[in-house]
């Protein structure tokens, strides 16, 4: 490094020229001790957590440990809440497809709870964020589903009743081996008819829904519908009476 001796001496002389004479503060000790007393009394008044915080602030290792623990806690909470949000979104979409498909709804009822009764707006809320629906699309879909809701609910109720009746036949067969085959046949015929009506209604609703959606949204909707349809918690409610039913 080039630091010429002449230059350095010049600077050092000028530095040596700067003398300061600041008088000492006669009240320094008193002021410092008063402030320390104040701090101590504040800490004493903070209680248990205050003392812990104070101890942490005075010691580096506990402070570092506490920082790490806090960071881990935040991460765990984030993961937990993100996981819950994802789970909730999945549940909402599954509930939706149950609602528009009474056959699957009845079938799934024994396997898992489908949640409380919801309004159409609540039922479709997940679609708004999932498909990034516009306000107009959402309103149209709500109106469309409102139109079909009652009929789908009636079909679901009827199918549930048929399912219960079928269970009664099954219980009777297991207990006394005496079955009214004609009544059973009628029941299964009724069930098939209800299923056909359900499938037709669901298909109609899906087609109308797809008309509201954009191509990207359609693709996503169909893919979700497919995964909901193939969900393992949707067993057959009653045995088939004929192929393709």
């Amino acid at each position: 490094m080039k630091d010429s001796e002449e230059n350095r001496t010049g600077i050092e002389k000028r530095l040596a020229d700067w003398h300061v004479c600041v008088p000492a503060d006669p009240s320094l000790k008193k002021q410092v001790l008063r402030r320390i007393d104040l701090l101590e009394s504040q800490k004493a008044g903070l209680g248990f957590f205050g003392r812990i915080l104070s101890w942490i602030s005075q010691n580096q290792l506990p402070a570092a440990i506490c920082s790490c623990a806090a960071a881990l806690l935040v991460c765990a909470a984030s993961i937990f809440f993100i996981g819950r949000a994802e789970h909730r979104a999945e549940l909402m979409s599954r509930n939706y497809f149950m609602m528009i498909d009474p056959v699957a709804h009845v079938a799934a009822e024994n396997a898992s709870a489908t949640g409380k009764e919801q309004s159409v707006v609540e039922m479709l809320a997940w679609m708004k964020t999932r498909f990034n629906l516009s306000r107009a699309q959402f309103s149209e879909l709500v109106a469309l589903h409102e139109e079909y809701k009652d009929h789908l609910m009636t079909l679901y109720t009827e199918l549930s009743r048929v399912q219960d009746s079928y269970q009664t036949f099954e219980d009777q067969r297991l207990s006394d081996d005496a079955i009214d085959f004609m009544a059973l046949y009628d029941l299964l015929q009724k069930r098939d008819s209800l299923r056909e009506d359900s499938v037709a209604t669901s298909r109609q609703l899906v087609e109308l829904t797809l008309r509201v959606l954009t191509p990207e949204q359609k693709k996503e909707y169909l893919s979700l519908m497919e995964s909901a349809d193939s969900h393992p918690t949707t067993p057959k409610a009653t045995p088939e009476t004929h192929a393709g039913a």
Binding site: M1, D3, E6, N7, R8, G10, I11, E12, K13, R14, L15, A16, D17, W18, H19, V20, C21, V22, P23, A24, D25, L28, K29, Q31, V32, L33, R35, I36, L39, Q58, N59, Q60
Partner: protein, 208 residues
């Protein structure tokens, strides 16, 4: 700093860590003047220097649990003071409206600078005041690390090792900072003292 002095200060600090207020008073007796000198040169305001000195001792007490027996006291206390000075400097930059008031107060309360008998040579006294004023401005404009290194080395006579502990760098780093600080001053002080003719500045410096 003398080694035995450092040891005794470290012992006093250990007593402070055990809650001994008398030990703290002993440290205040011994370190008030060096700290005040350092802080005043850094912040160049008497009121602020007094307040920051007081704050340094309060912070010292608050951080007492972190002081270990194998540490040296002077870097420890100057580190606290230097950090406070830097915070004050930042605060002043963010609050320029308060600077005018501070400067006005400082002009009326300015401590006596130098010990020469100025009445003997008014021209020399004027040149000397100007020289010191330029020096103060140059130091005030210096980056924190350079100013701290310069002030601790030339006015507090701390060793490279002690300054390295204050700044948080190597001894070689201190050497570099000192070089850069002197280069900064050379550049900022447009007219070196030696080049001034007829003002008797060199003579005045020699008298000190």
């Amino acid at each position: 700093m003398q080694e035995h002095e450092t040891d005794s200060d470290a012992l006093l600090m250990m007593r402070v860590a055990d809650g001994d207020r008398n030990a703290l008073c002993s440290l205040m007796d011994k370190w008030e003047s060096p700290l005040l000198g350092f802080i005043y040169r850094y912040v160049q305001n008497r009121e602020a220097a007094a307040e920051l000195t007081q704050e340094t001792f309060v912070r010292l007490y608050e951080a007492r649990a972190r002081f270990r027996g194998d540490m040296r006291f002077s870097p420890w206390i100057f580190r606290i003071a230097a950090n406070l000075c830097r915070n004050y400097h930042r605060w002043r930059k963010r609050h320029p409206e308060d600077m005018a008031w501070d400067e006005a107060c400082e002009a009326t309360n300015a401590p006596q600078q130098g010990t020469m008998r100025e009445e003997d040579n008014p021209a020399a006294a004027l040149a000397r005041r100007e020289s010191i004023s330029e020096l103060k401005d140059a130091i005030a404009a210096m980056p924190h690390d350079l100013a701290t290194t310069l002030l601790l080395y030339y006015y507090q006579e701390l060793s490279y090792r002690e300054i390295a502990e204050v700044i948080g760098c190597s001894e070689r780093g201190v050497e570099t900072r000192l070089y850069r600080a002197r280069a900064w001053l050379s550049k900022e002080l447009a007219q070196p003292v030696e080049s001034r003719s007829g003002c008797g500045i060199l003579a005045a410096g020699g008298m000190l």
